[in-house]
């Protein structure tokens, strides 16, 4: 049973190695990559089911007892995030089959893709702060290469910013980790939480907390450190930006929830997070409102939505943490769906600039439906998942007497709706534009099954899957909410986590 925990890391690793071997045989690479992502999704569901029933599962790598070895810990929070990784992995892998150019497959798209998934899963599962840094580097280096894959000028320039800022963030993280180790003498999350709870925080511990806050804020694109994201996320291949939009910033949010609730838990840093949350929401949505390119607009929305997750973290009550985790799940799904719709528009019209596309409602009525559902979900209209998530957040805010942040959250929701309506009126309702589609931008006609609107089936499967999930967890929110509540309970009672990790007999 315990080896289950290691599956979300092993499966992408094996898939990446196999697809690397068959790099030159594209069909083989695609088939293996798809199979690997399906296997990861299945494994994530099995893992979550086990965690839901039996509580935390711990695996001590190499049988080194904690706190000396590195444990892999699957608690409810980690397994929710792993499901998310599996879901987005499977969607983007399916979408990429027809989206990624053949030259980019030749260059090793699938191996890199699975390396990225491995890094993300590792970051979610690890129970050691230094190991978290290592997983961050694994996913970063894979994401660097994915971003530059293709080598067009905007990509190179975008990734120069992306690489520089993210390396800087890693250094901040490392400094924080180093100082913390110097002060406390351990980096095992459970051991840290235990040792810091019995001794008062010294100054150096607080400074390490701030270094980690800066590092994770850069990774999750929170308020003062968000500028790299809208400058780079719209440049890579469509599938890649959907993957990044769905997963990467969420790893930062996860790390922040993990460290600031489990380890530090002091009121001042939670207050700072709450202030950052409010500013992130507002600045992100203001940036989105003026954008005229779909992927850039959505990129600013990523930032704005990160604010909501951080709001839940900043309030730090049982309800608010439940809401924050639920929200993170919802927004990743909705956002990936929206990026995939943008990708489809890009393929059909040869551009994702709002002025150049139009009349999609007439030519692609089904695609319009699959845009509207995640878009309204993002804005928070019932019965979609955004409604349940935002309702829980607002309730938590009102219960904790944080009325200002509640007001900001509601105000930002309206602006979110406005900018979604802007895409709708310009791209779908607007007059049809006659744009010349250049050969390189249009997908080459291939033998493939075509469904509604003449789109390939590998475009439809992920869109339908993600939209179904956002509808499903909106209407039947209870099971996921309960699981999120279990995650929040584990976070708020670190004794459970600590006991599971530290006293686990081998």
């Amino acid at each position: 049973m315990k080896s289950l925990v290691i599956l979300p890391i092993i499966i992408p690793l094996v898939t990446a190695s196999l697809t690397l071997l068959f790099r030159r045989f594209q069909r083989m690479q695609k088939g293996l990559g798809l199979a690997g992502s399906i296997a990861l999704f299945a494994a994530s569901l099995v893992l979550a089911m086990n965690v839901y029933e039996k509580g935390i599962i711990v695996h001590h790598v190499g049988n080194w007892p904690a706190p000396y070895g590195i444990p892999l810990v699957a608690d409810a929070l980690a397994s929710i995030m792993i499901i998310l990784t599996g879901l987005i992995g499977v969607s983007v892998a399916t979408f990429s089959l027809k989206d990624i150019r053949s030259g980019e497959f030749q260059f090793g798209f699938m191996p890199l893709f699975h390396m990225l998934l491995m890094g993300v899963c590792g970051a979610f599962l690890t129970g050691d702060l230094f190991n978290l840094y290592v997983w961050f580097e694994v996913l970063l280096i894979a994401s660097f290469v994915l971003m530059t894959l293709g080598g067009r000028r905007p990509q190179i320039e975008g990734s120069l910013k992306y690489v520089t800022i993210n390396l800087l963030a890693s250094m901040f993280l490392l400094c924080g980790v180093g100082i913390l180790y110097g002060k406390v003498g351990t980096l095992n999350l459970a051991d840290l939480s235990h040792k810091l709870s019995i001794s008062p925080h010294s100054q150096l511990v607080t400074s390490s907390a701030m270094l980690l806050l800066v590092a994770f804020s850069i990774k999750s694109a929170a308020f003062p450190f968000f500028f790299w994201l809208p400058d780079s996320y719209h440049t890579p291949a469509f599938s890649v930006s959907a993957l990044f939009a769905g997963l990467l910033t969420k790893v930062g949010v996860y790390a922040m929830i993990r460290t600031f609730i489990l380890i530090y838990r002091d009121d001042i840093s939670l207050l700072i997070i709450l202030v950052i949350a409010g500013l992130t929401m507002v600045i992100g949505v203001f940036g989105a409102v003026i954008q005229k390119e779909i992927r850039r607009l959505l990129s600013f929305h990523i930032i704005s939505q990160i604010g909501y997750s951080l709001m839940g973290l900043g309030i730090a009550s049982r309800l608010s943490l439940t809401a924050a985790i639920f929200f993170t799940f919802h927004v990743a799904v909705a956002k990936a769906a929206l990026f995939l719709v943008a990708a489809t528009i890009g393929h059909e019209k040869g551009s994702t600039a709002l002025e150049k596309v139009g009349g999609l409602y007439q030519t692609h009525p089904w695609l319009s439906l699959f845009f509207v559902l995640p878009a309204l979900s993002l804005a928070g209209l019932p019965p979609l998942s955004g409604f349940a998530a935002k309702l829980a957040l607002i309730q938590a805010g009102l219960k904790g007497h944080h009325s200002l942040i509640v007001f900001i959250a509601l105000f930002v929701s309206i602006l979110t709706l406005y900018s979604m309506a802007k895409i709708w009126t310009m791209a779908f309702w607007g007059p049809e534009q006659n744009v010349q589609i250049t050969r390189s931008e249009k997908v080459r006609p291939q033998k493939s099954v075509q469904l509604f609107d003449g789109l390939s089936i590998s475009f439809w499967i992920p869109l339908v899957l993600l939209t179904a999930v956002t509808l499903g967890i909106g209407i039947f929110a209870e099971p996921l909410l309960q699981f999120c509540q279990q995650a929040a309970d584990t976070l708020l009672q670190p004794a459970i986590y600590n006991q599971a990790v530290l006293t686990e007999a081998r």
Binding site: F130, V134, E137, L140, I141, F144, V145, T148, G151, R152, R153, P154, I156, E157, G158, S159, L160, K161, V163, T164, L167, L168, M171, L174, C175, V177, G178, I179, Y181, G182, K183, G185, L187, D231, S232, H234, T235, E293, R296, S351, T352, A353
Partner: protein
């Protein structure tokens, strides 16, 4: 020894950030290198230095109360050196690629991300 190293680390951070703020891409990479050295030294120094003691010992030696250097710090530093080596190698290639694509190494002139 720690205070001397602290000054060195501070100097490296200063130099690193200064050269990152320059406009040249080459200086950007040099800045990143300096920063990664500074970080390495910081995580090496932060737990305190132990002079002339081995990090690995036999069990009876530990039982007899001999002191030892913290092996974990050394392991961390080693891991970080390897990782930053890989990253810097990637950044160098990216730099070359960026220079060939954009025909400039002036970061102020790289404003082509708008589509």
């Amino acid at each position: 020894m720690e205070s001397l190293l602290a000054i060195v680390i501070g100097g490296l951070f200063t130099a690193g950030f200064y050269s990152m703020l320059r406009r040249s891409m080459v200086k950007l990479v040099i800045g990143l290198m300096l920063l990664s050295h500074a970080t390495n030294l910081l995580i090496f120094t932060a737990p305190g230095l132990t002079r002339g003691k081995p990090p690995l010992m036999k069990e009876e030696e530990i039982a007899s109360g001999l002191s030892y250097a913290d092996p974990l710090t050394q392991a961390h530093t080693l891991a970080v050196i390897v990782i930053s080596f890989g990253i810097i190698a990637f950044t160098m290639v990216l730099l070359l690629r960026a220079y060939r694509t954009c025909k400039t190494s002036d970061t102020d002139k790289m404003k082509g991300t708008a589509l």
